[in-house]
């Protein structure tokens, strides 16, 4: 499995990277865990790869007030093993520990996973439940987009040409909030057939679902029912309503919907049990 020829640049600064990415045919490369396999299958053939994976400017985890700021180049392992993330955003810690295998987690990045927008990726469920904000940058511009607007369709995001994710911003979890990520694993790839991320407190509930449809989504209908009833089963019953469910050799549409309901119920129950 060999990819096509490409040019490679390793800019020293983010600014330099954005200048290079402004060129047609240029594509950012971070950990390469999504892009390189696509290139080997010759489903992607960028002419020029701009390596942003080693930019220190994109590799950080810090707390600022009530928000966590995570540089897009932060690897899954760095998130998984971060005491700050575990203390202040346990949903991310739990979700990221479910991604792929050690090799993937050592290499793959939070920004790369978000930008690839694989409909079966784990992270997007948490992003939806966390109402994560993505700081997007390009040559001469910067904007912030919320998770619900960022994920547009299968493998499609709000990213424009030449634009990359610089940072993922998630809220610091308040005391009393319980979280859970529950996942049905596709046995061959380790991706999620469905994955459900839940945050629940006495004030609110958030439910993010991945794997079911073309893109991850926040199940607001289920959230509303849970808020009014505190009944996990009733809330879970509607989580797949209206979703255009994926169907493949690993799970049919109807079974996926069923799993989404089961895993939502499990996640809600576990999150509720963890409310301190």
């Amino acid at each position: 499995m060999i990819s096509q020829q490409f040019e490679y640049s390793a800019p020293a600064t983010l600014q330099e990277a954005l200048d290079l990415l402004a060129n047609e045919g240029a594509k950012p490369l971070a950990g390469g865990m999504s892009l390189i396999p696509m290139m080997k299958l010759r489903l992607a053939a960028p002419e020029q790869l701009i390596d942003i994976g080693r930019l220190r400017e994109l590799n950080y985890i810090r707390r600022e007030g009530e928000q966590m700021h995570i540089g897009a180049g932060t690897t899954h392992w760095d998130v998984e093993s971060s005491p700050i993330v575990r203390a202040h955003c346990p949903l991310l810690s739990e979700t990221v520990s479910n991604i792929g295998d050690i090799q993937v987690r050592n290499r793959g990045t939070i920004g790369g996973s978000a930008a690839h927008a694989d409909p079966s990726a784990d992270y997007p469920a948490a992003f939806c439940a966390l109402e994560a904000q993505f700081k997007l940058v390009k040559k001469g511009g910067e904007r912030v987009v919320g998770a619900s607007d960022f994920f547009v369709d299968m493998l499609t995001t709000a990213l424009e040409s030449g634009e990359i994710i610089a940072e993922v911003i998630v809220p610091v979890e308040q005391r009393g909030t319980g979280v859970s990520y529950q996942k049905c694993v596709q046995p061959a790839s380790g991706f999620a057939i469905v994955g459900v991320a839940v945050r629940v407190s006495s004030e609110f509930v958030r439910i993010g679902v991945t794997g079911l449809g073309a893109k991850a989504y926040r199940a607001t209908n289920a959230e509303e029912i849970y808020t009014s009833t505190h009944d996990a089963a009733k809330a879970a019953a509607v989580v797949a309503d209206g979703a255009d469910s994926n169907s493949d050799i690993h799970a049919s549409a109807s079974y996926r919907k069923h799993l989404a309901r089961i895993y939502t119920q499990r996640a809600l129950k576990e999150a509720a049990s963890r409310m301190g």
Partner: protein
């Protein structure tokens, strides 16, 4: 073609490569360390696992340019109780997954020196073996942890 510098098992190498050359190929073909194996070339099997700046990675998924200036450890750079444990328990059969498996086990023991069985299962989940059914490999890792 481009020049890259890699420090492999403590030895510095400069090699002239295609930008899209896989780190695995450069290790095997340009540097001549064929202990790193290709099982799938897709990042699914772990046969090509090496340590890149101390972390376990699948070298088939890394364009060599991305490893420029890095420190790499391959199976040829390991020695000690872990490999001895594989000998003692019969952790290898056909051997093609063995170098990657040992690299993964090594990385696991670095992170979790006294792993439970489930830690081992999880730590080796990225390394496919079709021969052993994994059980003797679990024994090897457990033994290595004990004897360390």
């Amino acid at each position: 073609m481009r020049i890259v510098q890699l420090t492999v098992n403590g030895v510095s190498h400069e090699v002239n490569v295609w930008p899209m050359a896989r780190l695995m190929d450069v290790l095997r073909e340009d540097i001549g360390l064929t202990g790193t194996k290709e099982g799938c070339g897709e990042g699914e099997c772990g046969a090509c696992a090496v340590l890149l700046d101390g972390e376990l990675v699948n070298s088939c998924l890394i364009p060599v340019m991305q490893a420029n200036g890095s420190k790499i450890v391959t199976i040829e750079g390991l020695s000690g109780s872990l490999q001895e444990a594989f000998l003692q328990t019969g952790g290898a059969q056909c051997g093609i997954c063995t170098p990657g498996m040992i690299m993964a086990a090594h990385a696991l023991l670095e992170r979790i020196p006294k792993p439970m069985l489930d830690d081992i299962r999880e730590g080796l989940a990225g390394n496919l073996c079709r021969c052993t059914g994994y059980q003797k490999i679990f024994d090897a890792v457990t033994l290595a942890a004990k004897s360390a």
